[in-house]
Symmetry: C2
Subunit: 327 residues, 2 copies
Amino acid sequence: MTQQKSDELVKLVNAYLEQLSYVREPKGLYAPIEYVLGLGGKRLRPVLMLLTYNLFHEKVAQILPQAIGLETYHNFTLLHDDVMDRADMRRGKPTVHVKWNDNAAILSGDAMVSLAFQLMLKDCPSECLPSVMEAFTRATLEVCEGQQWDLEFEHRFDVTVDEYIEMIRLKTSALLAAPFEIGAHLAGASKEDVKNLYEFGQKLGLAFQLQDDYLDVYGDPAVFGKKIGGDICCSKKTYMLITALERAQGETKKELERWIAAEQFDKEEKIAAVTAIYNKEGIAEACQEQINRYYDEGLQYLEKVSVDASLKENLKQYVGKLMNRKL
Amino acid sequence: MTQQKSDELVKLVNAYLEQLSYVREPKGLYAPIEYVLGLGGKRLRPVLMLLTYNLFHEKVAQILPQAIGLETYHNFTLLHDDVMDRADMRRGKPTVHVKWNDNAAILSGDAMVSLAFQLMLKDCPSECLPSVMEAFTRATLEVCEGQQWDLEFEHRFDVTVDEYIEMIRLKTSALLAAPFEIGAHLAGASKEDVKNLYEFGQKLGLAFQLQDDYLDVYGDPAVFGKKIGGDICCSKKTYMLITALERAQGETKKELERWIAAEQFDKEEKIAAVTAIYNKEGIAEACQEQINRYYDEGLQYLEKVSVDASLKENLKQYVGKLMNRKL
């Protein structure tokens, strides 16, 4: 069976997105949608869906509507999250509520959800439509639940690691498990294979998010794409901070709590001080350990999928590259 | 065939909504949803869907999930519209963004969309799933397009009657044609019957919205439920105002334009003055004529539906009552 490399798949995805062309009326509704979908990005979720489908079938182009449907929903979540977080920039460009206004961001986002569902339905074989739609709607609800926990954690100082993991399972992993689950359903995979691919995606999602948290502190600014220390600045309760709060004792704990409570501070100073505490408490290593654990657990689920090992290499390579992308 | 009266159907709908009980985690996400769905209302859309289904089948309870799915989406649109319009009150209670905050209104709204789709999928017979989902997603996208036009019309002074009708076709009629279309699909109706029922719903939607515009000026405040003159106060480009602008001449036109341009004014004075112009220009009669025209056109489509005339009486009665509800 011929398998397509991930860079070819990215091209397929972008070509499909371009021909969709949201240049239609009312312009005020569709221009922000075109803008958001045109900001680029790795197209991670559609590529993962195509790679999953490609474990079983050659003609990946058949499921492009569903792949782009998922990408559309993912971009909708970024759009609404940016409004809620009052984020000014996204992928180096002004966010929709900055370039247009809050109403445009809310309403164009709502329309993106409809477009995502329309794409999910498009040319979907009737025998897998119920399972595809069930998986997709479940994932979309979980994302909302995850975002709610994330917002609530901002005002809490007693978030546990378990609570944090459950939050990112909902907010990040749900939409990263979805391409595996939906891709497998579309490929007509067995229940067992669907479940294993879903679990693979879910574990990967956790590993990805923890890696994102790690890179926010220890990443190479030239490669990471965002400013280093953003999470530290706003005292975001990431795995790193929660673990540091658990481990630190005495004066170190007090110092960390002071930085978290501080309302006025020099950003660089706070980043340096909190990073020093992380270094002292071995937080980088602890985080790496978790990342590897989730990644390895994920790969074990992939092993169980009932297709020849050689067919899994393409997907494995892509995922491996992502995991090492900025370390 | 036994048909159920609309008040029994409202009870069925409310009972189903109550047992859904959105008391689940995270509370911050589900509490606003429970609040919004518990504010009541006529449950117009689910009742219309059940009545439509009841033209063909007895066991209307089978399609309660889809009926409530549509009601959930409708309430989501009210929730997000209230954020965009900065409306403080809805059905006599504070809106979600007032009682909670903007983020709660945005995110709980987003979750309602997922819940609406989940309900739409629930126990939906696989043979009508594609058509039900196609009709539903199309309606949801049209609502967003309608809301965008509505927002844009606020800043325009050259809106034509045709543009206004197209706006309310999208913003109001889409979700009023949907219960007819979806109810017919679920009942396994013929293509012809689906189309005629959809057209009936669409015309009804136009008649309802024009009646709402009419009642905003000429309604009985004790029955209407909203304050009289709200549309006049904010110079909303309704059918009434657009037609008055087209008809008025000379000093009357200038006076109307002055009221529209006025930034500071006494509300009661503006309402009285604009209503006087409407009276002079025969706007009430013009609006009633349009309402009757759309209503009659709608009924003609209902006539064509291939079920015995006696079976249509129940639906006709309900719709007739709605049309005369506050005149």
